[in-house]
Amino acid sequence: MPFIPHTDDDVRAMLAAIGVSDIAGLFEEIPPALRNDALTQVPPPATEMAVLRLMRERAERDGSYLNFIGAGAYEHHIPAAVWQIATRGEFYSAYTPYQAEASQGTLQTLYEYQTMMASLTGLAISNASLYDGASALAEAVLMAVRLHKGARRVLLPRALHPVWRRVVRTLVRNQGIELIGLPYDPHTGQTRADAFPADDCAALVVPQPNFFGVLEAVDELTDRAHQRGMLVIAAPNATALALLRPPGQWGRDGADIAAGEGQPLGMPLAGGGPYLGFMTCRAEHLRQMPGRIVGRTVDAVGKPGYTLTLQAREQHIRRSKATSNICTNQGLAATAATIYMALLGAAGLGQVARTSHARALQLRDALTAIAGVSAPFSGSIFHEFVLKVQTPVAPLLQALQAQGILGGYSLVNDYAELGQALLVCATETKTPADIERYTDNMARIIGRRFQPAPCALKPS
């Protein structure tokens, strides 16, 4: 499908047809006082060459680091073919095509994306993606409240990503929905299944693993929530799904909705985006699913074809009663995820997950062997873990950064009760040599800076 802007001649012809002299004339009815056309803070136009140079210089200033930060965005190897294919002209529009059915290839790709996500999460229905994990979770919370048709309270574990909690709060706070925190066990790092409040709640959110990297007791949480008449919203790590039991099989009946971040499936870290929200649900909840859904059908002569389906849920038909004001999807990122999953296959994705898990365990063992460094939680981990250090976290991370290492994400602001703690991640991208480099530097920095100078004379 070509995405070709109009030529000057086209624009002149269109303006002439409606009797308007120039583009500005189209906006005449907006009172001058409401116009904001003087963008004084925006610099003058620059040439492509100048912009490229500026961007290169800025990028160089960022430096190049050995990265052990996860905290919601994960560094994985992306096969070169992923973006080589995703950026082909036929796919390279970030947007949902307006004449969707004219873009059969795009729809087929999204249909395959949906099939893969449904299969990974063990739930029957997937939409064609949402913006990112945090807003996908907020949509899942709204969906669960609609489905429950009674309670408007939702349980958000404190061990859920703090930024996701803030995004959910922002998106639901004006809809009369109350978000209730659920504590975690200070020994295991797992969300406490015995701490549900007495009030009627519509849903429980279950991250897997949680923000601490700790695997939750998903079966018990799911069953307990279902016994209390709640829906269960799974928020799984996309890579971990290749290794762990899918949300559709949690507990006796399985989670009702899964929503999360698709970035680990082929998207670079790229300073925070564009990322990809995924969302799947049980078949009976289909009508309350927000976002676009691609369906497979046959045309007038019986040939298979793809179409946007179930659009009566959506804003352009249902107006204010739509399931969501989201009328789009993250098309390019979903395309990249589809290609990534197709290239790796189930076995390859499983290998990424297993290697990441193994590397994280190696790193944790190596780091906690250093005096003054410990792992406060006993719960099993996936590819990320919390470290407690007996020295202030901020200067420690600074010192590591000076050695070219991003050592982790400080938990001091979000989880003050943990004291000096940081969140550390290792994926399949970290070699044993990388782990050794991190460990050596950590030991040296902690030893040099924060421990008393060794006594010159050893007691005999």
């Binding site: 009508r287 009566a312 849920r313 038909i317 249902r318």
Partner: protein, 129 residues
Amino acid sequence: MSTPEHLKYTASHEWVRRESDGTASIGITDHAQQQLGDVVFIDNPAPGRKLKQGEECGVIESVKAAADIYAPIAGEIVAANTELSDAPEKVNQDPYAAWMFRIKPDNPADIDALLDAVAYQKIADAEKS
């Protein structure tokens, strides 16, 4: 288009039939199903729910649109036609047999105050012209 004389109607295109047990069955009119096209989904109110007259209580979805269903009279939902969940096309095939839900009226006289077939036919004709 058929508009049976023994039924009562609303301007929002519901029909109402008084049943022998004192409840009232509610569906959508032949005119409404023609306007909607092929019906693919019906979201009925849950039994036990109490409704005010004119309250939105359900959704009927077709291949090209989704329309709200309004309670023609005040009362309590006593039954929803679960057959329509699996076979929503019955609304197109025979709209006056395909009742959607039954209400136990708060005030049975409310039914008498609804539109008769002649008055409803005028409304439907005006919409078509």
